[in-house]
């Protein structure tokens, strides 16, 4: 392989990357690339593409892992949409969670990023400290802490009782339990915060100077300079957090005692999918659920992408 490269004369070092070189060497140079790519290609075919196809097929079957799959056409889907109230409950729970958790999380992330941006000293310390919950929060341990804090008689409950609001524990209240999971997600705002902060630091200072010379106040500057300049980063965070929120599992599992309780109020989509597949052995039904999740995430992402044209501003584009 080396010899091939050595004998290939580089035409006067002219733009080595942009123009594909002569026909003959180009063909031979593909070899190394595919060797580098082989683990990834293997994974993409065996663990992504093929499983996606199989999962689509299984979604039209009745399959329990032991007997061969039995074709049932659209029955899994019709059952899901028309005969399974638990399915719709899990959809509503998940949507409520996404709609509450994502904006709150991004709001906090942006607020704290703005707070830190104005600092000269200690920025590094704060940045890391605010980021810590993002790493720890994904663990079972912290989910268990959350369950205890929001339990009947837990710290949050007692504090609320102290100011006259009696909840009797959020974890056991079907109308509140989903918010415990949401608050745990909001608590992990560190990752989008770090991304926001990096984005804020790339906004050129003279934009603010120009704005203040034009008489723009603080709020005006935020709306007319900060938000547009930050919109690509906001877009990135929004897409990422939305996709992740649809798939929340560990905290839901921990807070609901593994069963989606109380009264199915924390039976998140993924929790119900897990139960259908691995407790009830309805692999076909679970595959159908997985495909609807895939389509839903795809659709939501597409909507965000489409609407982004009207609110995401790329500095190097227009002007």
């Amino acid at each position: 392989m080396t010899s091939v490269l050595r004998t290939t004369p580089r035409p006067a070092d002219a733009a080595p990357s942009s123009t594909p070189e002569g026909r003959r060497p180009r063909r031979e140079r593909q070899g190394p690339a595919y060797i580098f790519l082989s683990p990834w290609i293997l994974g993409a075919v065996l663990l992504t593409l093929a499983p996606m196809a199989v999962s689509l097929y299984l979604s039209f079957t009745d399959y329990n892992l032991f007997d061969p799959p039995h074709w049932v056409g659209l029955r899994n889907y019709t059952e899901m949409f028309t005969e399974d109230p638990r399915y719709w409950r899990s959809v509503r729970t998940t949507l409520l969670y996404v709609v509450v958790a994502v904006p709150l999380k991004l709001g906090f992330a942006l607020a704290v990023a703005l707070l830190l941006k104005g600092m000269r000293k200690g920025k590094g310390f704060y940045r890391s400290a605010f980021y810590a919950p993002s790493l720890l929060g994904a663990s079972m341990s912290v989910a268990l802490v959350w369950r205890a804090l929001y339990n009947d008689g837990g710290t949050v409950d007692e504090i609320l009782s102290g100011i006259g609001i009696h909840t009797g524990g959020w974890v056991s209240d079907p109308s509140l339990a989903v918010f415990v999971v949401a608050l745990l997600s909001v608590w992990q705002f560190g990752a989008p915060m770090v991304i926001f902060l990096a984005g804020l630091q790339q906004i050129p200072g003279d934009l603010y100077e120009a704005a203040s010379i034009d008489g723009a106040g603080r709020t005006r500057q935020f709306i007319s300079v900060t938000l547009p300049m930050l919109s690509p980063v906001l877009f990135f965070n929004l897409v990422l957090e939305t996709i992740q929120s649809f798939q929340v599992f560990t905290p839901a599992f921990a807070i609901s005692g593994g069963k989606g309780g109380p009264a199915d109020s924390t039976n998140f989509y993924t929790l119900y999918l897990y139960e259908r597949a691995f407790s009830a052995s309805h692999m076909g039904y679970a595959s159908a659920m997985a495909w609807i999740l895939l389509l839903a995430i795809g659709a939501v992402t597409l909507v965000i992408f489409r609407t982004s044209r009207s609110w995401v501003f790329y500095a190097n584009e227009g002007a």
Binding site: M1, R29, V112, V194, A198, Q221
Partner: protein
């Protein structure tokens, strides 16, 4: 915001400069006070966890005081016994084995793929790259059941293979993308020079690109370690035998129990399970924060 504090507003600043700098200093102090206050609220659950792990069990639920009446170190000795006859040492060892395997797999396979995407030309490069980026958005549930069937057919269920093997096939596109982003920022001159000196792509990769990519590789390694350590879903699906349990799975036993009799030991075990992440965090937080920041920029 900082631009505001630094540049004096053109109107209404008739006062002497001394007053202005004093006001700026007050502002900065106020910012710090606010940031520390927010931080205090944020870190409270972690402090609570630490304090509760040392409380006698009957105090966990009855007393709202953060500090225990006396330190119950026995919680930790009970926690060390582990769950179901499997000691904490074994549980930690299992978690460590899986995480270490995942780290090696991800670093090797993702850096190989990233180099091809960032520097080599090949047919379908655009299509493959787009596909790779798209898989970052793919919910794992879409491939979960067939993957389970594959590993079941291979007789690998209830072993660590389903948790480690996929990492050697660069299935975590996030890291491929992260390393590609980093490699694209490297100057090409060194590689060009090496090529003229007769180096092939493998030599260039190993001797030039890989060493320069070290920050991205470290970031990949740390994130992979922490995410594997925290992972629950995959472990829940693939591991059954208690002696193969990870520390995360062992904590799961406390989830099902409605009895609160083991509250103290449960939180002691929680603290033990978080220790490696905390240590990693303190050792490498610079890489973690920068890795996260760069993933959202460029593009």
């Amino acid at each position: 915001m900082s631009a505001l504090t630094r540049t004096p507003a053109p109107v209404a600043t008739t006062g002497p400069t001394a007053a202005r700098t004093r006001r700026a200093r007050y502002r900065r102090t106020a910012l710090h006070v606010l940031a520390l206050a927010v931080l205090l609220v944020l870190l409270y659950p972690l402090v609570w966890l630490l304090a509760t792990s040392l409380k006698p069990t009957d105090e966990v639920l009855t007393s709202l005081k953060l500090l225990p009446s006396h330190f119950e170190w026995d919680n930790y000795t009970t926690a060390l016994d582990g769950v179901g006859g499997v000691g904490v040492g074994r549980l930690l060892g299992n978690s460590l084995l899986i995480s270490a395997g995942a780290v090696i797999g991800n670093v090797v396979s993702c850096s190989l793929a990233a180099y091809a995407f960032a520097r080599l030309r090949f047919r379908l490069r655009g299509v493959m790259f787009a596909f790779m980026v798209a898989t970052m958005m793919l919910p794992q549930h879409a491939v979960l059941i067939p993957q389970y069937i594959i590993f079941n057919k291979l007789g690998m269920v209830d072993s660590y293979w389903p948790l480690i093997l996929p990492k050697f096939l660069a299935t975590e596109a996030f890291f491929v993308f992260l390393i590609v982003q980093f490699m694209r920022g490297l100057p090409r001159e060194l590689e060009e020079a090496a090529r003229i000196d007769g180096c092939g792509p493998f030599r260039i990769f190993r001797s030039i690109v890989l060493p320069l990519t070290r920050p991205a590789l470290i970031t990949t390694a740390i994130f992979t370690f922490i995410w594997s350590w925290n992972d629950f879903f995959t472990q829940l699906i693939y591991l059954f035998a208690p002696e193969k349990f990870t520390i995360t799975l062992a904590l799961r036993n406390f989830v099902d129990q409605s009895s609160t009799s083991a509250y103290g030991p449960m939180f002691a075990m929680s603290v033990i399970s978080l220790l490696p992440i905390v240590l990693f965090f303190f050792a490498f937080q610079r890489y973690l924060v920068q890795g996260m920041a760069t993933s959202g920029l460029k593009g």
